[in-house]
Amino acid sequence: MPQIFHPSLNTLSRLSIFGGAFAALGLLAISYMLVGSPYQTQVGIIHDQPVQFSHEHHVGGLGIDCRYCHTSVEISAVSGVPPTYTCMSCHSQIWSESPMLQPVRDSLKNDTPIAWAKVHDLPDFVYFHHGIHIQKGIGCVSCHGRIDQMPLTFKDKPLTMEWCLECHRHPEKYIRPYEEIFNMEWKPPGGDQLTLGRKLIEDNHIPVDRLTNCSVCHR
């Protein structure tokens, strides 16, 4: 009877056993990194938009308050993408001939919405509420980053559950006084965030032990 297996298969079989184990681990590692990468979280990715709107120009350059356009952010779950009417409050006279703003003028004239691409899209099983975060002292910049320095809007934070929980477990690291919510450049006085944060948790009646309950965000 001839030999079925060539002697070199001894080496090959050992290689494939070890290689297989490494490959499986490697695949897991790669998929873990992929889930946290901008490919999945969309952090830093700029979407194509119907109009090249610049927060850098409107917020950083002109100093327009967030709430001038996002009127419902303090009281509602959603901050509200402004209606075209709001854009045209100024652009009826400023850049009123600009071809860049043609979609805005068309939108007002024809009463059709501008189809913006959503930049921060939470899963439908997360019930996020802007209003409560603002009332309790989370600044815009904590989740949206330096929006006043973004010529085109992108997601600055991953908004994964892990990321949300980091703050829900330790809100004292992030919370700020009500007057500074919309301030993009605020720093805690003296750099002592923790003392201030603990005091604000007291003042704003934040039940930290309950912030990590499932039903706080999921229903």
């Binding site: 297989g20 327009i64 001038y68 959603v78 009417y85 919405p113 099983f125």
Partner: protein, 211 residues
């Protein structure tokens, strides 16, 4: 068949099970989401033309104060008085709202020299003093000095817009409109206040500056 092939297939099968998005995009509308069902493409439905506003019993007065509060009108004329008492809380709220919605054009001081005006928007009249001649909109010359204008006039302008100014009714709630008007009154007053009218604390502050 290579021995690693079934292993790879198994790994891929395990990894790809997480890719269904049904729970991420549930069959319901998020606010402002596009719709394929409605012909205008919007899931947010407009208020029907025949809908009648019903006052909120908690925040809105009914009966004789209704027109005063919601329209700024008393006996068919622009209201001369505020429909609710003005205190420090109202003024602070008014200042905050003024700085959000009004400063871009009217400026922090109410002089009509806000950032958007500096970028070329029609300058609004200052809230105090003789208005500079613009020769542009004749409708804008009802009051030679806006200090003479009744509060109801400001309410109507914020609600309906005026000249180049668009309506702010959808952006500023009714109570906030009155708060803003109260703050505008404070701005008007502050420009013509005399030293004797100031509290002692402010007078001390002032004497330090002038020295």
């Amino acid at each position: 068949m290579r021995p690693w092939f079934p292993l790879m297939t198994a790994c891929l099968a395990v990894l790809s099970t997480g890719c269904r998005q049904d729970m991420y995009d549930q069959p319901r509308y998020e606010p402002q989401e596009a719709s394929k069902f409605f012909t205008d493409g919007k899931s947010d439905r407009p208020i029907l033309p025949s809908v009648v506003h019903r006052p909120d019993p908690k925040t809105e007065p009914r009966d004789e104060l209704y027109d005063h509060y919601n329209l700024g009108i008393v006996d068919g004329e622009p209201a001369e008085t505020f429909p609710f008492p003005i205190d420090r809380t109202v003024l602070d709220r008014g200042r905050q709202r003024y700085q959000i919605y009004c400063t871009p054009c009217h400026g922090e001081r109410g002089d009509g020299q806000g950032m958007i005006v500096k970028r070329g928007f029609s300058p609004p009249p200052p809230f105090y003093g003789e208005r500079p001649p613009t020769g542009k909109s004749p409708a804008a010359t009802i009051y030679a000095d806006l200090r003479e204008a009744p509060v109801g006039h400001f309410f109507e302008v914020i609600t309906k817009g005026h000249g180049a100014m668009y309506s702010y009714a959808s952006r500023i709630g009714v109570r906030d409109r009155w708060s803003i008007i109260a703050y505008v009154r404070a701005l008007q007053l502050s420009r013509y206040a005399t030293e004797s009218e100031l509290p002692q604390q402010d007078r001390d502050q002032l004497s330090k500056v002038s020295r």
